[in-house]
């Protein structure tokens, strides 16, 4: 049995009919320690079979444990469904918000306000969902209070808003949201069409005109370059290749730098030595007289000795020469 307390005005408890055969359902209800067991006074029927029960406002009391008992009488007996214990304040489904109004605020802000047919505003929480014509998904945001602000809006877009309500956790614990309100739109339809045409226009420009124009310009540029070598040379200068200059050196003259450079033969000859030097072997002899100094071998004459006159040096030289 599923019960819903609609806007705290009336309640319906539905059980449906899963049996193919004709079954006679009867519902009994009572409030624990408050009222005696009573049968449903107003049944809801589907093809002559009771499928639900309607409770008026006086029959629905909140914050009192509510018990329901469903009886199904078949041909061969009566089936009793276990009784359910319910709290009506947790089954409230408020009515959808009404009187949605949109106001244009400064700074491109939109303010959405609404009213609720449910009497106790402090017990409600709301949820707003909106989408522009350019969005793919809905954006759903929770709201406390009756005002929702959209911080920045695009004047070229077309927005749609929906609002719904639920009893908040300060007055009950329920998951039952109301139905979505009637939609509220903002932004005009005509701008939407205009935008589409504009979009097509831009599309043609971007995909056809621009590529063709740019390729034409490129073509002209290429032709100019080919025809005017002056421009070509400035844009694409020849990079000098020095390797050709060295072909002569490495191939013709076989790496002989002097030959390739053109150095004259006399200069080349002058660097070659044209004399021969004999090796002079030298050895040291021990002195015969201890006073006689020893001299190093050389082609030079020994230094002049003081004392004996120059007339007699040849005599003096001889002994030295002999000893050497």
């Amino acid at each position: 049995v599923e019960c819903v307390f609609f806007n705290e005005e009336y309640m319906t408890c539905m059980w449906g009919n899963t049996e193919v055969l004709t079954v006679n359902y009867s519902l009994y209800y009572w409030y624990e320690n408050r009222s005696p067991m009573v049968e449903c006074k107003h049944y809801l029927q589907d093809q002559g079979i009771n499928v639900g029960c309607h409770f008026s406002k006086n029959e629905s009391i909140q914050f009192q444990p509510f018990r329901v008992l469903l009886n199904a009488s078949l041909d061969d007996g009566t089936l009793e469904f276990p009784s359910k214990r319910l709290e009506l304040q947790d089954l409230v489904k408020p009515e959808a918000p009404v009187n949605l109004t949109i106001r244009n605020m400064s700074n491109n802000q939109l303010q959405l306000t609404w009213a609720s047919p449910y009497p106790k505003a402090k017990c409600l929480e709301h949820s707003v969902k909106y989408k522009s014509n350019k969005d793919t998904d809905w954006t759903e945001l929770p709201v406390h209070g009756n005002v929702f602000s959209l911080p920045s809006v695009d004047y070229e877009k077309y927005y749609t808003f929906y609002v719904r309500s639920k009893i908040n956790k300060f007055c009950g614990s329920t998951l039952l949201w109301s139905e979505w309100s009637v939609p509220m739109v903002w932004g005009s339809n005509s701008t939407e069409n205009g935008t589409v045409e504009e979009q097509l226009h831009w599309f043609w420009i971007h995909t056809v005109v621009i590529p063709i124009a740019s390729s034409l310009i490129l073509l002209v540029f290429v032709v100019l370059l080919v025809r005017m070598e002056r421009v070509w040379v400035i844009l694409m200068p020849r990079i000098p290749n020095p390797s050709k200059n060295f072909d002569e050196l490495f191939i013709t003259h076989n790496g002989n730098f002097q030959e390739w450079a053109g150095v004259p033969k006399d200069v080349m000859e002058s660097f070659k030595p044209n004399y021969s030097e004999n090796i002079c072997y030298v050895s040291e002899l021990p002195p015969k007289d201890s006073n006689e100094p020893l001299w190093e071998s050389s082609n030079h004459s020994p230094p002049a000795m003081p004392g004996p006159p120059p007339a007699a040096p040849s005599e003096q030289y001889n002994p030295y020469k002999n000893s050497y």
Partner: protein
Amino acid sequence: MERMIVFCMLLFCSSAVLTASPYDTVKYKQILKTIEHLNSTVKDKGAELVHTPENPVDGCRSMAVACFQKGVLKLQPENSQVNSTFTRTVKILRKFTFREPGKQCESSCESYEKKTPREFLKSFAKLMKEFAKCTQINLLEEPVEIVVVQMKCD
């Protein structure tokens, strides 16, 4: 000298009072949230059962509130870590009173069935929701004394 001491004491006391007050102002909304918070931190298994008022009749609601506020003192935190916040939240729940003038109540706290701490808190929350919904109380105000002549929920 004595005057100085007296003055200093007064100054100290007033500053203590001022610093204490932020915790004291608690909106009605917060009381409900507090009960939910307690529900998650209270020791339930193996804890002492508490007298739980259920669906008090007209006239017995004020007594039910008093019973709830008394019973809250018997609750224990789940572990020692939540001890300080637990004590503070319990204090918050005892700060307000509920009055139904002109009505008498026959039953007492002990006449109600004893239940587990979680069920106790669930019933307490239910009663507070009933006050929130069915009275003129402003959820954004600090409740000190709630005086109700008639519960309008029908």
